[in-house]
């Protein structure tokens, strides 16, 4: 029956009501990698919650979009966007030039910096001090890009993991000397381990997280930007920020 439904429903219904259905009424699938506390993670009730989730829900409400959040592993998240499994991605994705060539980003919704997690007895002051040490990063993340640029893409000193918690566990177990990652997550994870501390490299540039859509999907991008502007204007944004980071929201650039 389910198989029949899967085949017949789209065919039959699509033929019947195609043209009548507005894009707005279609449920949009949001991809988010739920191993990224406090941005997106699964709570014990198996719901995906976090800062990213609250933001996209608020944006969708303002923009009049129906959304469904689907836990999508980080390594496959852009592939899922490319092949249409998800319509948009909100998963702590840093806006950068390389990604802008392949995808479209909304205005920023979070100000991020890279942060280094190390053992308390470490004397490292910044990225340069990590030369010759084992550095853990999340595959394909901004931390990976920074480490690859500094130490070489194929350097065996870079150890890549699926998610930040795994990389931090490896650090806690002394499998690596340092982990480079996004400030929100690194700070949250490091305070779970007594023997670890964070190091902020002043040379790391300010970065921003944006919501990602397939390149050229201007209709959706405009709606998301409108929704984002609306929640920034009416104070919803500041409230969500405060809930998750216990601090005032910083002013974000418009683009």
């Amino acid at each position: 029956m389910t198989l029949l439904k899967k085949i017949l429903l789209p065919l039959g219904l699509f033929a019947l009501v195609a043209g009548n259905v507005h894009a707005q009424n279609k449920e949009l699938v949001v991809g988010s990698s739920a191993t990224y506390r406090p941005f997106a993670y699964e709570n014990p009730a198996k719901e995906i919650v976090g800062y990213d989730v609250d933001i996209i829900k608020a944006v969708a409400q303002k923009a009049g979009l129906q959304i469904k959040i689907v836990n999508t592993p980080w390594t496959g998240i852009f592939a899922a966007l490319n092949n249409g499994d998800v319509d948009l991605v909100i998963s702590g994705v840093t806006i950068n030039e390389k990604r802008k060539q392949s995808y479209d980003f909304t205005a920023p919704y979070f100000e991020a910096r890279q942060l280094i997690g190390v053992h308390k007895d470490s004397t490292a002051k910044g990225l340069k001090d990590l030369a010759g040490k084992k550095v853990g990063v999340v595959t394909g993340s901004t931390g990976d890009d920074i480490a690859s640029l500094e130490f070489g893409k194929t350097s065996p000193d870079i150890k890549r993991f699926e998610s930040t918690p795994v990389a931090i566990s490896e650090l806690a177990n002394s499998g690596v000397d340092a982990v480079i990652g996004d400030n929100g997550v690194i700070a949250f994870r490091v305070q779970e381990h007594k023997q670890l501390k964070t190091v902020s490299d002043p040379n790391f540039p300010k970065e921003y997280f944006g919501i990602v859509v397939k390149q050229g999907n201007k209709a959706l991008l405009d709606k998301l930007n409108t929704g984002l502007a609306a929640i920034k204007a009416d104070g919803t944004y500041a409230k969500i920020y405060k809930t998750w980071f216990q601090a005032e929201a910083p002013a974000l650039p418009a683009q």
Binding site: S102, T139, K153, F161
Partner: protein
């Protein structure tokens, strides 16, 4: 690097850029497979014999039962009854830190532990998990092989005054080994492919390399197709080697 396109879509330059890493990854995959086949076979033989251990008089009877048969049965049941992926994570993040840990490792601690973990941590855990896992499967192959030899042969050679060990070595195992070759070959091929799971704990083998490339470029065809071809070549080679061995040990077996 300028994009080099093969057949209009295959970005060969990406593979070339990470060539060193693919080469090192290939070597690592082969190394892990060879080590685990050797250790798994030795362990499998020991466990397989332990599962068959029997004696008539006490205390040997009790020793066989409680110290050999029961533990080995539980061991096989656990390693066949839980996912290899889970075993790898369990060993790497829970078991290994217990024994090798800079702070309070039961086996090795201090600076030695730190450098050992950083340079060989994932390698040790991966080898350990894969060996224990394949040992469980191989022990069943040995047990089945040994049990397939007619009991009368064992009774006959024992009556002729051969010890249990000599009976095994001269009479049972040579015949059993011939029957065990096809399943052992299957196991070796499965082991080669399963070694890709170790990439989750950051061991730089083939799957890890592909993930790194996919993460850096958000391109999936090039890295995964490349390693698929490498794995395929390796499994074809293994299958061929097993076939040769079968022919070698099957001489005089033609009907």
């Amino acid at each position: 690097m300028e994009p080099i396109l093969w057949f209009g879509w295959f970005r060969a330059d990406i593979i070339a850029e990470y060539g060193v890493m693919f080469w090192r990854g290939l070597q690592m995959t082969i190394l892990v497979t060879v080590i685990c086949i050797a250790q798994g076979t030795a362990l499998g033989l020991a466990i397989g014999l332990a599962r068959l251990a029997e004696a008539r008089h006490s205390p040997a009877r009790q020793i066989c039962r409680y110290l050999l048969r029961w533990p080995s049965t539980v061991y096989v049941s656990f390693f066949r009854g839980t996912p290899l992926f889970v075993q790898i994570l369990l060993i790497h993040f829970a078991v290994l830190p217990l024994f090798i840990n800079p702070a309070d490792g039961l086996l090795i601690s201090g600076e030695t532990a730190r450098s050992l973990k950083q340079n060989y941590g994932a390698f040790i855990s991966g080898i350990l998990a894969l060996t224990l896992n394949s040992g469980a499967y191989i022990s069943e192959i040995f047990r089945a092989g040994i049990q397939s030899i007619d009991r009368g042969q064992i009774e006959a050679s024992r009556s002729l005054g051969l010890s249990f060990a000599r009976t095994m070595y001269h009479v049972v195992l040579p015949q059993a080994f011939r029957r065990m070759l096809p399943p052992l070959g299957n196991n070796a091929i499965a082991l080669l492919k399963d070694s890709s799971l170790i990439s989750a704990i950051g061991l730089a083998e083939l799957a890890y390399t592909a993930r790194t490339v996919a993460g850096a470029y958000s391109r999936y065809w090039e890295p995964y197709l490349s390693i698929s071809l490498m794995y395929w070549t390796l499994t074809l080679g293994l299958a061929w080697a097993v076939k040769r061995l079968e022919a070698r040990y099957g001489r005089g077996d033609t009907r």
